[in-house]
C-alpha cells in the first residue's frame, strides 16, 4: 500500500493507533522465497496449519481451507511441516 504520511496536526495525539488490526494493510508477502501451495484434494481440514501459522494467513471459507493469504504469508513453511497429509508443499517463489 502506498502510505500517505500525515502531518503532525492530522495524527491522533500521543502516538496512539486508533484502527485495530490495520497492519493488514501492510504486506509482508514480499518477504517470501518459498510459497506454500495447498492441495485441496489431500486436505482433511484439520486446521493444524491455521493453529500453527504465525501470520494468520490460512484462508478458510465455510469450514474449508481454500489456500493462503499470499499478501501476508512470509513463507516460513510451518504449515507444510505440520500438515499430517502433506497437503501443503513449499515451492520456490518465481520472481
Amino acid at each position: 500500500m502506498k502510505e500517505q504520511k500525515k502531518s503532525w496536526n492530522e495524527l491522533p495525539i500521543g502516538g496512539s493507533i486508533l484502527e485495530a488490526g490495520n497492519s493488514k494493510n501492510y504486506f509482508t508477502g514480499t518477504w517470501r522465497t518459498f510459497k506454500p501451495v495447498h492441495n485441496a484434494k489431500l486436505c482433511i481440514n484439520c486446521y493444524f496449519c491455521w493453529m500453527h501459522c504465525p501470520d494468520d494467513s490460512i484462508v478458510i471459507e465455510n469450514g474449508k481451507v481454500t489456500g493462503m493469504d499470499l499478501d501476508h504469508c512470509k513463507g516460513c513453511g510451518v504449515c507444510a511441516e505440520v500438515c499430517p497429509k502433506k497437503a501443503i508443499t513449499m515451492e520456490k517463489e518465481e520472481k
Binding site: 502516538g15 493488514k24 509482508t28 494468520d56
Partner: protein
C-alpha cells in the same frame, strides 16, 4: 475444557497479519493461544521486545484488543496500572459496559521478565492484581541482536557469550523463573510449549479465569537467535519437552503437577529423549558438536537431569 479447532477458526484472531515478526516466529502463535482461550474482553500490555516492536510499527498495529506498551522492564507494573484503573473506574461507576469482566494480560520476553523486569513482576505478583503475565521465553535478548539473558542455556553461542578460544558459549545455568514465581504463592503458574496448543490453551484459560495473579512461561524458539530454519519451531518445541529441557508444569495453589508429554515421561509411558536430539540442529549449539565438546554436552545433560529431577519431585514423583 477441550478446544476444538473447528470452533476456534470461526473466532476472530487477536493478532492481525501484516506484523513484522520474523518468518516462522512462534510468538504470534503464543498470543493466539493465550488470547483465544477465553471470550472475556481483554486488555494487554507488552514489554519492549520483538513482539512489541514488530506488531506495532506506527501507523500500523496488529492488535485487535486494547494494547499498551510503556517500556522494557515494566510490563507487570503497566498491567497493574490498567487493572487498578479498571477498579478505580468501576468504583465510580465509570466503567463502560463492554469492559465489564475484562481480563488483563501482560506479555514480555525473557529479557523483560527474567532480568530487567523481574522487580516489577515480583511486585505485581505480591500485590495480587487480577492479571496474567505471559513470558515468551526465546532464551536471549533477540530483539537487540541475540545477547545472553539469564534464560539462555549453558553452551549457547550468543553475541555476548561468543564462542572463542577461551569460551564455549554461556557458562551459567538458566534461572528457574517458575520457582521464583511460585514462591510468591500465587494461585496459578505454568509452563507451556506452543506445539502442544491444547495444553497451552487449557493453561491459558485457567490462568485467565483465575482470580488473582497468574503466570505462564511459554517456550518460544527463535529463528535467527537459535540459527534454525524458519519452519523449525514446532519440532523444536516438541523436542524441548521430550528431552525434559522444557517440562510442561502446572502449579495450582501451590500444588505442582506435570502435564502432556512431561507427565507421560514421568509416568514411564514415554522415553526421555537425550538432550543432544534437541540441540544438534540448532546453530547456537553447533560449536559443541563441531568442536566435539562432549564435556559441555555432558554438563548440559546433567543440568537438564538435575532440573527434571527437581520438577518431578515437586510434582510428587
Amino acid at each position: 475444557m477441550a478446544f476444538l479447532l473447528k470452533d476456534l477458526i470461526k473466532k476472530q484472531a487477536p493478532l492481525a497479519s501484516g506484523h513484522r515478526m520474523c518468518a516462522g516466529c512462534p510468538a504470534p502463535v503464543i498470543v493466539k493461544q493465550v488470547l483465544m482461550s477465553t471470550d472475556h474482553p481483554k486488555v494487554c500490555t507488552n514489554a519492549t521486545g520483538c513482539l512489541e516492536v514488530a506488531t506495532t510499527i506506527f501507523p500500523f498495529t496488529s492488535w485487535k484488543v486494547p494494547w499498551l506498551h510503556i517500556a522494557f522492564e515494566n510490563s507487570a507494573a503497566a498491567v497493574s496500572g490498567v487493572e487498578a484503573a479498571y477498579h478505580g473506574l468501576a468504583n465510580k461507576g465509570e466503567l463502560p459496559e463492554d469492559m465489564k469482566n475484562a481480563k488483563f494480560i501482560a506479555f514480555g520476553g525473557d529479557g523483560g521478565t527474567y532480568d530487567i523486569g523481574i522487580q516489577a513482576l515480583s511486585g505485581a505478583l505480591e500485590r495480587g492484581h487480577n492479571m496474567l503475565y505471559v513470558c515468551y521465553d526465546n532464551e536471549g535478548y533477540m530483539n537487540t541482536g541475540i545477547q545472553r539473558s539469564s534464560a539462555t542455556p549453558i553452551g549457547a553461542n550468543t553475541t555476548t557469550t561468543p564462542v572463542g578460544s577461551q569460551s564455549y558459549g554461556k557458562r551459567e545455568i538458566r534461572k528457574d523463573l517458575l520457582s521464583i514465581v511460585v514462591a510468591h504463592h500465587i494461585p496459578y503458574a505454568a509452563t507451556c510449549a506452543p506445539h502442544d496448543w491444547m495444553d497451552g490453551m487449557k493453561k491459558s484459560q485457567k490462568a485467565i479465569e483465575t482470580e488473582g495473579p497468574a503466570f505462564l512461561n511459554y517456550f518460544s524458539p527463535c529463528i535467527p537467535g537459535w540459527k534454525i530454519p524458519a519452519d523449525a519451531w514446532r519440532k523444536l518445541s516438541e523436542l524441548a519437552v521430550k528431552t525434559c529441557f522444557w517440562p510442561l508444569i502446572e502449579v495450582e495453589n501451590g500444588k505442582w503437577s506435570l502435564t502432556g508429554e512431561s507427565k507421560r515421561i514421568a509416568d514411564g509411558k514415554a522415553e526421555k529423549v537425550p538432550a543432544v536430539e534437541f540441540m544438534k540442529n540448532q546453530g547456537r549449539f553447533k560449536h559443541l558438536f563441531t568442536q566435539k565438546k562432549d564435556d559441555v554436552l555432558a554438563l548440559i545433560q546433567a543440568d537438564i537431569d538435575r532440573s527434571w529431577d527437581f520438577y518431578r519431585k515437586m510434582a510428587g514423583y
